[in-house]
């Protein structure tokens, strides 16, 4: 199940984390260990045991379409590192060729 350096680099790119070659070399085996540990579960999983996505056997838990108060704009923006024009100000988005 060895995770390749290329795969880890791709995951890093998807998570918008820039990783040096040294970091990739360092992290790939660590991630491998984690995957191996999780793979233990596969040993007890039988084909007749369906994968579980929810612990409780519930369906159709709905909310009525009724408006509830939102937060105020000031509350929403109070923890933002940067604000402009009542909006969250974020760094420019890199790696998009558009």
């Amino acid at each position: 199940m060895a995770l390749s350096i290329t795969e880890v680099a791709r995951l890093g790119a998807l998570a918008r984390i820039s990783l040096t070659d040294a970091e990739l070399e360092h992290l790939a085996p660590q991630l491998d260990l984690i995957l191996e540990a999780v793979a233990e579960v596969a040993k007890v999983a039988d084909p007749d045991i369906p994968p579980t996505s929810h612990a409780l056997p519930l369906v159709n838990v709905f909310r009525e379409d009724e408006v509830r108060p939102s937060l105020t704009n000031a509350q929403v923006l109070s923890a933002a590192p940067a604000v402009e024009d009542e909006r969250f100000r974020v760094p420019r988005i890199l790696g998009e060729e558009e």
Partner: protein, 496 residues
Amino acid sequence: MSEEIMDYAEAMASFDPVLGLEVHVELNTATKMFCGCVNQFGSAPNSNTCPVCLGLPGALPAVNAKAIESAIRIGLALNCEISGWCRFARKNYFYPDMTKNFQTSQYDEPIAFDGYVELEVEGEPFRIPIERAHMEEDAGKLVHVGGATGRIQGADYSLVDYNRAGTPLIEIVTKPVYGTGAKAPQVAKAYVAFLRDMLRDLGVSDVRMEQGSLRCDANVSLMPKGASELGIRSETKNVNSLRSIEQALNYEIRRQAAILASGGKVKQETRHWHEEGYTSPGRSKETAEDYRYFPEPDLVPIAPSREWVDELRATIPSPPDVRRQELQARWGFSELELRDAVNAGALGVIEATVAQGCPPQAARKWWLTELARRANEAHLELDELPITPAQVAELQQLVQAGTINDTIARKVIDAVLAGEGDPAQLVETRQLATVSDDDALSDAVERAIAQNADAAQKIRDGKVQAVGALIGAVMRESKGKADAAKVRELIMARLG
């Protein structure tokens, strides 16, 4: 900026286009998909947000029952199967428009699947196979600041408004659409127009393309004539008017044809449509694998009962084309009159006005002339004008009863649109009722004859057409309130 393109007819001589259309519809529920924040366009930035739609740690989503109901009704109107059991999934990606770093979306278990839509283009029938209609949530809105174009390229930074984050969305996806030939762009346009009308009839969305509540991604690929293997497709985003859908596909077909004819390979990519009439490459798409979908642990599965689905099935109106034929027959409209009403998006308001007792032809006349002109000037849809079908019906009643004439009616429309009151009340308080009282009119006629001696003499000499000048004078004096037929009668009695 634009690339080499082939003549359309030449492209059609060598290739068959295959379409794939993805339409996103924002539902018009009162609240968002997973929280009680109001679902509204145009509010102050970040004012319709809460811990759930901001993705704050620990906040838990709760599914909007109305959104599920709308999704099922849309599925039924698309002739789809409705799933007996399905789940939401997390679609993971990192982008500032989504604070949670995942979009809650259905993936391999859509609520509706395997349907079709039937439509006609220039009398030729087409059947559009529907792969699925699934539920998801919309993302926040980014404004890119700096750079020359206001687009992401060259921007210094971006501003985010999360009001739209969590808006319930239905994504309707077609299977590959074969056999449309040279009409492919028109079929795509007709399909989206059909969806728009159908969704409006269902009452589940505002379907305003210019506000983004109906958005279309248009995929197209080309197969060499006689081939059976699908070509490589491009996906054009940002096509947000019916006209653009047709133009963007026309352009993409010609662009791909030029590449293929010169022995090149079409690149599978996202492209952006520019209103100037061309597409340009966008970001290379993450693949489904990159999104690392997995079932949403915070939401339990949806399992609509057969009874519920059957109950909803009974609420599905006839398809738009069938409904149009029914209305045309009921209203006695000609083909042209009906088409004009459809193109103006006026069927709904005419129907509502007729329901208030207005004759169909009169309802058509008001909405398609006076009101259409004012809507156009104000850049509004007809049903966004601040006048109700009931007020239009009331106005028509006043005209029919002879209380006011068309000229005064237009003034009443202006006053109603300015929010000054209802038609009958305005006519009453402003004394706009037509003057047909003989004494009052006779005096005005006498004055008009005295002031227009030439015209009066011509009428005495038998040149009856000169009467117009005298009627005009009386109408001016009465500020349009005189009953013109009555005035004519009085003048002819006096001079004829």
